[in-house]
């Protein structure tokens, strides 16, 4: 299967993004490899990294497009960067994808232990750090169960929009998907119009 030019770093990111897009993505071993791949790409590319790791230097053309915010204005989990060339994007997850998923599970009243995962962050991290986490079907089941978590919905809609449009992306539309101003129905309408 052809791999999409989407570069996640953690195994759990790889699983989630592959699950959202329904395709193979190009897993990178470390955050610096994600940054390198996206910095050096002369084509459509998306990078996804955890914010609690050392940040590799990003190309000067990247700027913060938008970030998901708590009611008090602080950054919830995800920040979206866009490149001035309009075809490269980066997402940073604060502090990391496992905490984001755990918060989503808490918010959606999903019992991790019923799926065989520890409910503590430390215990869950141990599971997501395993190589097997990149393909784990139980994780895919969990992603479906937390699918209504607004921040995940918005991330999913944004990713799908970017991957579908690639070289015809309207950055403002991407931002609206990310900010929740455009919904899944809008996405379906856009996808059907092409």
């Amino acid at each position: 299967m052809k791999q999409m030019n989407v570069f996640p770093e953690c195994y759990v990111d790889t699983n989630l993004v592959g699950h959202i897009l329904g395709c193979k993505v190009k897993h990178k071993s470390t955050c610096n490899e994600v940054a390198k791949a996206v910095n050096n790409a002369d084509c459509f590319a998306i990078g996804i990294i955890d914010a609690d790791k050392r940040l590799a230097t990003m190309d000067d053309g990247f700027y913060v497009l938008t970030r998901s915010s708590e009611a008090d204005g602080t950054n919830k989990h995800i920040t979206m960067y866009a490149h001035k060339d309009g075809k490269r994007f980066m997402f940073t997850i604060k502090p990391a994808m496992d905490k984001f998923i755990l918060d989503a599970a808490t918010s959606q009243n999903v019992d991790l232990e019923k799926l065989g995962y520890p409910s503590s962050l430390e215990g869950f991290k141990k599971q997501t750090k395993r190589i097997q986490a990149a393909e784990d079907s139980k994780l895919k089941q969990l992603f479906d169960m937390i699918g209504d978590y607004p921040e995940l919905q918005q991330f999913r809609n944004t990713l799908k929009y970017l991957v579908k449009k690639q070289y015809a992306i309207d950055v403002d539309v991407a931002r609206q998907f990310f900010d929740g101003m455009m919904s899944k129905d809008d996405l379906v309408a856009i996808l059907q119009s092409n």
Partner: protein, 355 residues
Amino acid sequence: MMTACHCAWVEKRISLRQSSKEFEAGSVFIDSMLNYYRAKGYLHEDTYIEYETDYMQFSYNHKKHLFSHKWKESRWDYRRPKVSYVPAERNMVSLVSNWNRLETNYDSILDFKADLDIARKYVKHTDDILGTGISYKYDEASDTDAVITYNGQQIDMTSSSSGLQSLVPQFVHLDYLTNGIYKAESLLKEKTYAEKQIAGSLLDSLYQRIHIKEQKETSEKFVVRIEGTDFMFREKKLADEFQKQANNFLHTDHAEVFLEEPESNLFPPTQFQLMNWILEIVEAKKRKNFFVIATHSPYVLSHLLQENLDDFGLYLTYPVGNGLYSVKTANDDDVQDIYDNGSDAFFNFEAFTER
């Protein structure tokens, strides 16, 4: 790395004996190092080694065959480490089944084998090593090691893959050093005569130093019983101080591991699993374990750099001509540049060492 490990071992030996005498005779300091690490070809006429910690400072000048040692103020705060050198040749111990019968000098490989022997007898069995699906089993009756694959097939360690022959001894040894050793030490074990002598002499030194501080005229007595001997104090505060220091010197407090090429023969994702596990050991608050790791793996290097560890140093070894090498401590800018280079960092080494 060999020099650093040797110095950590010398420091421990001096601390436990409260004397540096054994290294002051001619070239004992350097000879013991060259033999142990099979490093004879690396000695130069002008070799000079200097080592300093919070507890002591020592140096060796090969031209003068002179070993000098000085205590520092915190000498009594020393905490006994388990110093261990894990050689890159560790898979040899998996490959050779009758290692004990080989005639060889006492060196780092044989010492690793001896340590591993203790570790495997303690660990005995480990399931699913680092998420590989491979388990380990030591059979005491036949004194052999085996690995068990996902489908339950048992394979003798001598016939297993090179990756497992490198990974399993490393894993079993480090698991024991950072975990099992403390439980093993808590089990009563009769000390050898030599061990008793060293412990007795050390306790006398500690007692003399603390006992002399006693000023209170009182009939109260506080007895601290250690190693079968009673130590008497009139002040509880001093008795407690003695007890604490004796524990710090007599019982292993943490591990100081000098690990050569942990990546040897390992599939890159397994290198990651191994580093994740080592980072868990380092970050555990209970013990101040530290690792010195020599690596040629971009995966190991990038993984360590991306974790943003608090107590982390990166040292670059590079040739400076005439067969000589220099070591550079990477500053923040170097670290960021090396990190940005990712898997290509080793191909751009000169850019980091020539500035």
